[in-house]
């Protein structure tokens, strides 16, 4: 037994040096990428929900079956419980007809559906914008310098935590040769020293798309694609953890790169191609020319007499890859007791005080009838119907922009790029945590005295609408363009 009274400052220094020796081991050991850590956290959260929240999830499914699911104003008691999802995987290795069609949807970077279809990612993947103000926005693995013109960054993740990726768009000035920038990116990646086990290899170079694979020891392996456009460059990469059984081929990555190239040519800086006006999912085409609205017989909830279902956007025309992975939508059954307050900050009391015939159609999709959105149509039939309708449009906009507190959670609002479009953000702090988003659009209709309100939801952890904010507003434009024709 040591005599502890013999301790002195020399001993203190000795122990301190010894502990510092251990620090050397830590400094040379590879640390897992933060994206894997977060993915592991999300997987933990998902597992917890699936076990502890199984009963609540079942309740959500039942609620959505009658037309008003968890997002409804009267169901805010469990706002972030995920609905069950199919785990089946699309395994096509090249752009599918759906993917090819999705090119009509505007945007310079590949969409989630294009990532999913080309790489065969399972449902549950999420594509999120990175905040340009965040420290990480300009931080890139491997690059010796970040090219000028970094315009947009997005991150893609899977719930299982075994796949993490992202894409960045560099819009270059007219005096900068995109090929030179792309070559420098490739050189940086090939020469990357991320650790003793990191090794990157150029695999292909064709039509403005260079693919590189890499291995990083215990940190996993993955791919890069450097894509050159007319006046822009897209950088794509993803990492697969060593625990994953999934394998991604050069052909798959090249296919994703080809889509990125096509998008730069159509929608990137210096683009010369034009959007196909016939594309049904093109957000720009939809608002300019737009697909023709069709009629569909659908159940309408509300006090009798409700407006005809022909005044609503057909459920089939809600279909989009960003709503439940493009599953076929349908209208939910009518519920005579359903709330008319479909916007987060509205209440039934407010709605009860407004005149006119009014009804709501809830649109759902998937085998578990997942609620993807709602539309409310109100038709004023007084002599001053048009003035009342204009006032209703103004009322909705003002109410939304005020924000509110709902169920103890603060709801904040921002206006979209087009008149009548809004995004409500709810930071959930009671009973659960997370962020919910509600896109709200309001417009006059072709029917005299008619007003349409369209809403759909998303959450910070990827439930509901699966697109970025820009895509959300584009989606609103598309649906409002259909609503206006009614």
């Amino acid at each position: 037994m040591a005599d502890i009274d013999e301790w002195n400052e020399a001993d203190d220094a000795l122990v301190r040096r010894a502990m510092a020796t251990l620090r050397g081991d830590v400094e040379t050991a590879p640390m897992p990428d933060v994206r894997f850590v977060k993915a592991r956290g999300r997987a933990l959260r998902r597992r917890r929900f699936l076990t502890v929240g199984a009963a609540a999830a079942a309740a959500v499914i039942v609620a959505s079956g009658v037309g008003y699911a968890v997002w409804g104003p009267t169901a805010d008691q469990s706002p972030v419980v995920p609905a069950t999802r199919s785990t089946s995987s699309s395994s096509s290795a090249s752009p599918s007809p759906t993917t090819t069609g999705s090119l009509g949807q505007a945007g310079p970077l590949p969409l989630l559906t294009e990532w999913s279809d080309t790489l065969g990612l399972p449902n549950g993947s999420r594509l999120t914008d990175q905040d340009p103000k965040s420290d990480d926005f300009r931080t890139f693995d491997c690059l010796t310098s970040v090219p000028n013109g970094l315009k947009q960054r997005q991150q893609i993740t899977l719930d299982n935590g075994n796949f993490e990726g992202g894409q960045a768009l560099f819009e270059l000035g007219g005096g900068t040769d995109p090929s030179t920038v792309a070559d420098q990116l490739v050189t940086d990646i090939e020469g990357c020293q991320q650790g003793p086990d990191f090794r990157a290899t150029k695999r292909s170079e064709s039509n403005g798309v260079t693919t590189l694979s890499f291995t990083a020891g215990d940190a996993g392996s993955g791919w890069w694609a450097v894509v050159t456009g007319p006046e822009a460059v897209t950088l794509i990469n993803f990492t697969v953890s060593i625990e994953s059984d999934a394998e991604y081929t050069e052909q798959q990555v090249a296919a994703l790169g080809a889509i990125a190239r096509e998008r730069l040519e159509r929608y990137g800086a210096g683009a010369t191609a034009t959007t196909s006006p016939s594309s049904p999912s093109s957000s720009t085409g939809a608002t300019a020319a737009g697909p023709k609205a069709v009629n569909e017989k659908m159940p309408v909830s509300g006090p009798d007499p409700v407006p005809s279902s022909n005044l609503f956007v057909a459920a089939s025309q809600w279909r989009d890859p960003l709503f439940y992975s493009g599953a076929k939508p349908s209208a939910a059954s009518a519920d005579p007791l359903a709330s008319l307050a479909i916007v987060d900050c509205e209440t039934d009391e407010q709605q009860a005080g407004i005149a006119g015939r009014v009804g709501v159609v809830a649109v759902q999709a998937g085998p578990d009838d997942y609620l993807i959105g709602k539309q409310r149509v109100r038709v004023f039939d007084d002599a001053d119907a048009d003035q009342l309708a204009d006032a209703d449009v103004t009322r909705v906009g003002e109410l939304v922009m005020k924000g509110c507190t709902k169920g103890g959670n603060k709801v904040t609002a921002e206006a979209g790029p087009k008149p009548g479009t809004y995004l409500l953000t709810t930071k959930v702090t009671t009973e659960a945590s997370g962020t919910m988003y509600q896109y709200v659009g309001v417009t006059r209709m072709n029917t005299p005295g008619g007003v349409s309100v369209v809403t759909f939801q998303g959450t910070g952890d990827g439930q509901g609408f699966q697109g970025t904010k820009a895509q959300g507003f584009a989606q609103l434009d598309r649906l409002l363009a259909l609503a206006r024709q009614k």
């Binding site: 301790w7 640390m31 977060k38 959260r45 215990d218």
Partner: protein
Amino acid sequence: MSAQSAEAEFDAFYRDTSRRVVHLVYGFTGDLTVAQDSAQEAYAKAWQQWSTVRAADDPLSWVRTVARRIAISNWRKRTTQERAYTRHGTHDTTGPPTEDRVAIVAAMRELPDPVREAVALHYIGDLSIEQIAHETNTPAGTVKARLHRGRALLAQALTHEETDHG
């Protein structure tokens, strides 16, 4: 706080603190692989409930405590884990052990658990006696005694080691 800024905040937190946590758990367990895995799991749990953890007085203290608890559990599973690593063809991420490291780890392992914990928190975590007392829910006097004892035992063991190797 938006989802994106929460992500950025967590990313910065992880980047700034994760090696310190690995170092701490490494000192506590003497096993770098267990330390890495325990730290990663602790940060994953922190992200899982980031809105709560970030609001805590000291998020790093939260992660440190969780990582130490996980490490104790993982240490018990180590033999099973090693079998799994072998089966999947992966390998320990630590390099070949130096004599110094072997001696330090061996000396640390001789310490009783509470003493080793106090030494690791003080010398690696840079925590004061009061902070250790708070984090381990132990009276400050007890922490002081454990530190004193651990320091002396370690110094004695390491001095012997240096003497034995000339």
